[in-house]
């Protein structure tokens, strides 16, 4: 039992009322799925791994929105702004200083730039008393400004160092992530990139679980539920919102860097209204108050969209629209929380005596 106790202690920081999936059964399932995901490239090859890597890196973007929107109640329609800023920053840094060492450095620097952008915008909004839905529209407008601006940088005067911004065409041939120097350098592509992305996603997921179930997490949820009351309880609501916004910006930035290296390419369309809407869709469908929901919904929706597109059917986009509408109308709390409730319900009915202690939150 010593091992089980140790494991129980290990999972404690990641559990609490703010996340789904508490209890031993969940973590056993989590480990099984994780092992399956780690083994996926071995079973299905490097092409399958590289397609799956795209969905996993998108899931990080979805997590960034979940923590801002679902847990703190601020709908940022412009998460893609930080995603794109980091992607462009990474491209400019790594291409200007092309060596293995620099892509190692460019990753954290680009994420830092995204976080900084979030800090500036967040300060601007939350300390400027921009409220509610106006935050949503303002973040969208910021993304659209970047879209308009970057799309016009086709001329040769728009060159940063040796790299042309490329306007509407974007920047091609962005180097892949490389770790190490010289002979020993490892370039992350195919399965290796997949594993790196998976590790980043799992780390983000667990980190956010610990965050939202900790003291700061309660402040976030309290802010979402009632700003005035939270303020009266002695929290600096503006600071809470700003910190969460910066964290979200950094995560979106991480996702953006991974995106730029996945396809070795970035273009202004990442700032466009279509791409800006997609994270909102993932999170709304998955269940905006569930980290797991965001991840699952992102992977499933993107896989589904890709499959539909590969059929070449003209009804593909209509099917996507109808599925989204249906999920909003019939599963308003999100698909994953609904499933969670269904599983609990079934367990209560059939197997309550077996593992009742595990189902209940502490």
């Amino acid at each position: 039992m010593g091992l089980a106790d140790a494991l129980d202690r290990l999972r404690r920081p990641f559990e609490g009322p703010n996340t789904l999936g508490n209890g031993r059964a969940f973590w056993v399932g989590f480990l099984v799925v994780l092992v399956g995901l780690v083994g996926y490239p071995i079973g299905f090859g490097s092409y399958a791994a590289s397609s799956a890597a795209l969905y996993l890196l998108y899931a990080i973007l979805a997590l960034s929105l979940t923590v801002i929107w679902g847990y703190t109640g601020i709908l940022s329609f412009g998460q893609v702004a930080f995603f794109g800023v980091a992607g462009y920053s990474f491209a400019l840094l790594s291409m200007n200083l092309e060596s293995a060492l620099t892509t190692m450095l460019a990753l954290p620097v680009a994420v830092g730039i995204a976080a900084l952008a979030a800090l500036v915008l967040g300060y601007f909004m939350f300390y400027g008393e921009v409220r509610d839905v106006y935050v949503t529209i303002l973040t969208l407008v910021v993304a659209l400004v970047l879209n308009t601006f970057m799309a016009q940088t086709a001329g040769s005067e728009w060159t940063v160092g040796s790299v042309a911004l490329g306007g509407f065409n974007g920047i091609p041939a962005i180097p892949s992530l490389t770790f190490g120097v010289g002979e020993t350098a490892i370039t992350l592509d195919g399965a290796a990139f997949y594993w790196f992305t998976l590790a980043a996603l799992v780390a983000s997921y667990l980190g956010l679980r610990a965050l939202v179930n900790g003291r700061f997490g309660y402040a976030m949820v309290a802010t979402r539920e009632d700003e005035d009351r939270t303020e009266m309880l002695g929290y600096d609501v503006r600071r809470v919102k700003l910190l969460v916004f910066v964290l979200g910006g950094a995560l979106a930035g991480l996702s953006g860097v991974l995106y730029a290296t996945w396809g070795n390419y970035i273009s202004p369309s990442v700032f466009g209204i279509t791409f800006a809407s997609i994270p909102v869709v993932w999170v709304a469908v998955g269940g905006r108050r569930s980290l797991l929901g965001a991840v699952v919904a992102t992977v499933v929706i993107e896989w589904f969209r890709q499959q539909l597109s590969a059929t070449g059917s003209q009804y593909a986009l209509i099917v996507v629209g109808v599925v989204l509408l249906a999920s909003i109308l019939f599963v308003p709390e999100g698909v994953v929380p609904r499933l969670d409730a269904a599983i609990r319900g079934a367990r209560d009915r059939f197997g309550a005596s077996n593992d009742a202690p595990e189902g209940t939150p502490e």
Partner: protein, 291 residues
């Protein structure tokens, strides 16, 4: 720079901003629903107009049909989908986004990638070596007429007053005998009809294709944000401000700078005036009245 050029370009831009935004502003300002399918509603209005004109209807009749079609579509969508989402702002955004997707692709499947376009009526106004499309210039008085009409509707008619009461406090309004469901439906239909009108008015001068809605979206959102909560005053003021900025910057530095200047204005206005231009006007008015 020619002063008449600038004047006409301002008229053109003002009309575009106002007409792009007004349907969105009514639905957002009165009901708190952000209609991400707004551009597609405009597209439906343009399709209704162009298809009717191609079938032989005179242009004004075709435009009326375009408005009607969009209004009816708004009615159906409100009764089936939107009315379930009134207290769920964010879900309504996802739902309207999905509707936009369906409408765009649906029109593509039904009518192909393009339909034969109608030409712009009314010729041009020539002055010196310059000339300007009469139709485009006339959109300014039309935009003003629309704003005036809405002003009368929402402040001078029983319907408008009840609708505003419903927005401010739906429970109390209901307890005073207002059928609030009908108010919401009617407001949504009016917003849809306005989007349809925009589509109808621009059908002879823009390219009518399934994806055309996106070209209105940026201006519409920017105008709503800059305008602030009061629908009519806000839309008028932001039309004026953004129209001027666009005309001046486009003339001085080119189209790209016109667009960027507009977007930056939006950001600055939001930062400085959290309630948009309406908020500014209210503050000034209160200060004047206070003295």
């Amino acid at each position: 720079m020619n002063a008449l050029n600038l004047l006409f370009q301002f008229a053109d831009n003002f009309a575009f901003v106002v007409l792009a935004a007004v349907g969105l502003a009514v639905i957002f300002g009165m009901m708190g629903v952000i209609n991400l399918g707004h551009g597609e509603f405009i597209m439906i209005g343009a399709y209704g107009t162009t298809l009717s004109a191609n079938a032989g209807a005179p242009l004004p009749v075709a435009m009326a049909i375009g408005v009607l079609v969009t209004a009816v579509m708004g009615l159906i969508l409100e009764r089936t989908i939107i009315h379930r989402l009134y207290d769920r702002l964010f879900d309504s955004m996802v739902a309207t986004w999905a509707l936009g997707l369906i409408l765009t692709q649906g029109m593509r499947i039904l009518f192909g990638n393009s339909i034969p376009q109608v030409s712009t009526p009314l010729g041009n106004i020539a002055y010196g070596e310059f000339s300007y499309s009469t139709y485009r210039v006339l959109l300014l008085p039309v935009a003003l007429l629309v704003l005036g009409g809405l002003y009368v509707l929402f402040t001078r008619t029983e319907f408008g007053i009840r609708a505003r009461a419903t927005i401010q406090d739906p429970d109390t309004a209901r307890a005073l005998g207002v059928d609030t469901d009908r108010m919401y439906t009617a407001t949504f239909v009016i917003g849809s009809a306005l989007a349809g009108l925009t589509g109808a008015l621009y059908a002879p001068t823009l390219t009518v294709v399934p994806g055309m809605g996106s070209s209105f979206l940026v201006e519409a959102f920017v105008a709503v944000v800059v305008g602030g909560p009061s629908v009519l005053l806000g839309t008028t003021l932001s039309g004026g401000l953004l129209g001027t900025i666009d005309a001046v910057f486009t003339n001085l530095f080119g189209t790209f700078y016109g667009q960027i200047a507009m977007l930056l204005t939006a950001i600055v206005v939001i930062r400085v005036l959290s309630d948009g231009l309406t908020g500014l006007v209210e503050t000034v008015r209160n200060r004047v009245e206070g003295e």
